[in-house]
């Protein structure tokens, strides 16, 4: 005597085994992708120009004292910071930049500020009132920002002595991130 069969729903066949497995595998894959995405630091986007040679540029200095070329700082650790006077997160991160600049300014570390979509007079006022003493340049046509893949200020790029972009920070950067990134590049350079 066989076991009683489960009654079927009228008009439909039970879902085939392959379809059930496919749905389970699909949901599992989706969960894994979401878990990996949530684990990523949204400030640290390792795409685009990271791990590639930093784009060379020559730009007018904001203070009007001539031009500045990235190639002038070959062999040094360069911290490239895109900022604007109209950008509140830039003001938020500025004290950390000032402190770290004071800490490394006599070493082989260079900070370069790049004005992003801002009027020159407003950018100058911002620099003068916020203690920005590192060299800053204008990027009136946005070519430097496009070459580095900037989405909007503030963004900070860490360029090693080898000229390769080692890291990128989107949004206001804090002192610990700045120091850790700079020290890592300096340690690599001294090896």
């Amino acid at each position: 005597m066989g076991s009683p069969k489960r009654p079927r729903r009228s008009g439909t066949d039970p879902m085939p085994r392959w379809l059930r497995y496919s749905i389970v595998v699909g949901i599992a894959a989706l969960v894994v992708v979401l878990m990996l995405s949530f684990r990523r630091d949204p400030h640290d986007i390792r795409t685009g120009t990271v791990n590639k040679p930093a784009a060379a540029f020559t730009a007018d200095r904001l203070d009007g004292t001539g031009t500045l070329s990235l190639s002038d700082y070959a062999g040094k650790v360069v911290v490239l910071n895109f900022f604007a006077s109209w950008c509140p997160p830039c003001k938020e991160e500025n004290p950390a930049l000032v402190r770290v600049w004071e800490r490394y300014r006599t070493s082989d570390v260079v900070f370069i500020g790049i004005v992003y979509e801002d009027a020159t007079d407003k950018a100058r006022a911002y620099v003068n009132t916020n203690g920005v003493t590192w060299p800053t340049v204008r990027d009136d046509d946005g070519r430097i920002a496009f070459a580095y893949g900037v989405f909007g200020p503030p963004e900070t790029y860490f360029i090693g002595p080898d000229g390769i972009i080692a890291g990128r920070h989107i949004g206001p950067v804090d002192e610990a991130t700045l120091v850790a990134s700079i020290d890592k590049l300096r340690a690599q350079a001294s090896r």
């Binding site: 008009g11 439909t12 685009g48 120009t49 590639k52 046509d141 989405f151 909007g152």
Partner: protein
């Protein structure tokens, strides 16, 4: 041929001529190339707008760069490649089929195939099957008919 028919024929020929003229391949002008490239590029500071459609300052600067590159004689692929090098495939409004992100084009096809499979399956299940009765069922039916005949039940309405 009546005058009306001649007019209809002339109108049809004019439409066909216009269609053929518009579809005929011709070398794009610099302005057309700029429009085409900027309509494929994403404005980096906007939400889902192309460089062509965005009024943002960064979009204007990107358009100026495209204009310059076209004037320099760069190909469309080289110009797109310059932006892709900095921003990745994200900067293209339509993901390229050549990279792994091109797999996204398969998603609607896969969804369509899955939907068709489910619809076909349901349609098949909905059709009543004219299954042949098993010998056991046939024997039971014969037994029932014989039983009803033996009882001499009255026939259905209308039957004599």
């Amino acid at each position: 041929m009546t005058r009306e028919r001649a007019l209809i024929l002339v109108a049809l020929l004019a439409i066909l001529g216009a269609l053929a003229w518009s579809a005929w391949p011709h070398e794009a002008t610099a302005a057309e190339r700029v429009d085409r490239i900027t309509s494929e590029l994403r404005c980096v500071t906007c939400q889902g707008l192309s460089v062509k459609d965005s009024p943002a300052a960064s979009a204007r600067q990107m358009r100026d760069l495209v204009v310059q590159r076209v004037a320099e004689g760069r190909t469309d692929e080289e110009i797109r490649g310059e932006f892709r090098a900095a921003y990745g495939d994200w900067v293209l409004l339509s993901p390229p089929t050549s990279s792994w992100t091109g797999l996204i084009w398969l998603v609607p096809l896969a969804a369509l195939a899955a939907g068709l499979a489910i619809v076909i399956r349901r349609m098949r299940a909905a059709v009543p099957s004219a299954a042949v009765p098993s010998p056991h069922e046939l024997a039971a039916l014969r037994e029932r008919v014989a039983h009803e005949e033996a009882l001499d039940l009255p026939q259905a309405d209308g039957a004599e």
